[in-house]
Structure formats: C-alpha cells, structure tokens
Symmetry: C2
Subunit: 111 residues, 2 copies
C-alpha cells in the first residue's frame, strides 16, 4: 500500500490516542501536505522538532497497529464486503439482491 | 448489553494495550470467573489490589472505547453482515446468493 495512504489509515483508526498537539502537527504534515518548514513556522517550533514529532507519531500509530491489527482487519473486511456488493449489484433486478446491495453499500460508507 | 459481555468485547478489542500483569488479572477475574480472593492468593497480592486493578483496567478499556468506538462499530457491522447472511441464506438455491452467504459467514467468523 502507498505509504501516505497507510499513514492516513493508521491515523484514522488510532489518531484519537495521540495528544491534541501531536494530532495538529500530524494532520498538517501528513494529511494536509504542508511542508515541515511551514508547520514549524506556524507553530513556532523548529523544523527538527516537527520532524521528530512526525517520527514519534508514526512509531506510536504503528505500535498500536502491531498490537490491535485493526487496519489489517479493516482492509480485509472492506474487500469482502466489496465483493458482496459487486455480486449483488450484478443481480439487482432481484429484490433480495437489491436489498443486500443496499446493506453492503451502507457498510462500506460506515467503514 | 450484559455487563460481562461488554467487558469481554472491550477486552477483545483493547486488551493488548494493557500490561501483561493487568491482562493476567483481568482474564482470571472477568473471563475465567475466578473470585477476587482466589486471584489475590494465586498472585500473592491483596484482595483490594485485585479489586483496584480490575477497576483501573475497566477505566482504561472504557477510555479506549470512548476515543475509538471500535466495539460500537463492530456491533453495528456484525448486525448488518448478519442481515446479509440471513437474506442470502433464504435464497441459497441461487448460486450467486450461495456465494454471498459464504462471504458473509467468513466475515462473521473473522469478526
């Protein structure tokens, strides 16, 4: 998986376990694609400080994943529900299939 | 939901974030249904110590759920996939329905 997508997924699952300050820096750099220098200037900290914090956040988020495996389970689950949606969508003239397709779409929206 | 079931689900999702010692005590009391006195004696700590640790573990696990909402999402998801399984099972003479039923069963086993 692309590194940035993996980071975003890790953040999506475990971001709430970071402090407010860590979240702000992580979001600016990883999700909003600001440069280390821009974020450093905005927050009045050094460029190295931003760099260290991102590294620390990545270690924390990766550590949670190594323990809980939620992103891994989520990716597998999404693929399986996607498969149900595809099969049901190909037969949606059948009302029961249409109902299944609707549930699958609703699950995928929530995931 | 029954309190004991809720505790078991919380532990299932977030238990790996507890220390080894906390896990051992929590499993003995909550999952294996030993009494506080038995666990205290086995581990050579006071009954009050066991009591305090269970309370602390419950606070930690509940705190993770308040931040991450994984048990909540899991329960909703399981209900929706269960619904798909039910509908597909009622039409399993149709090969596509049989395939969907199989995927739903596999998801429920993994959840």
């Amino acid at each position: 998986m692309e590194e940035i997508l993996k980071q975003a997924l890790l953040y999506d699952f475990y971001g709430e376990l970071l402090t407010g300050h860590q979240k702000r820096v992580y979001e600016d750099v990883v999700l909003n694609d600001y440069s280390f220098s821009e974020v450093a200037e905005n927050l009045g900290i050094s460029r190295q400080g931003v760099h260290d914090m991102i590294r620390r956040c990545n270690r924390l988020l990766t550590g949670y994943e190594e323990k809980l495996h939620l992103v891994e389970r989520f990716i597998s689950l999404r693929a399986q529900v996607g498969q149900i949606q595809k099969i049901a969508g190909e037969h949606r003239q059948d009302p029961a299939m249409k109902e299944i397709e609707g549930i699958a779409v609703s699950i995928l929206e929530e995931l």
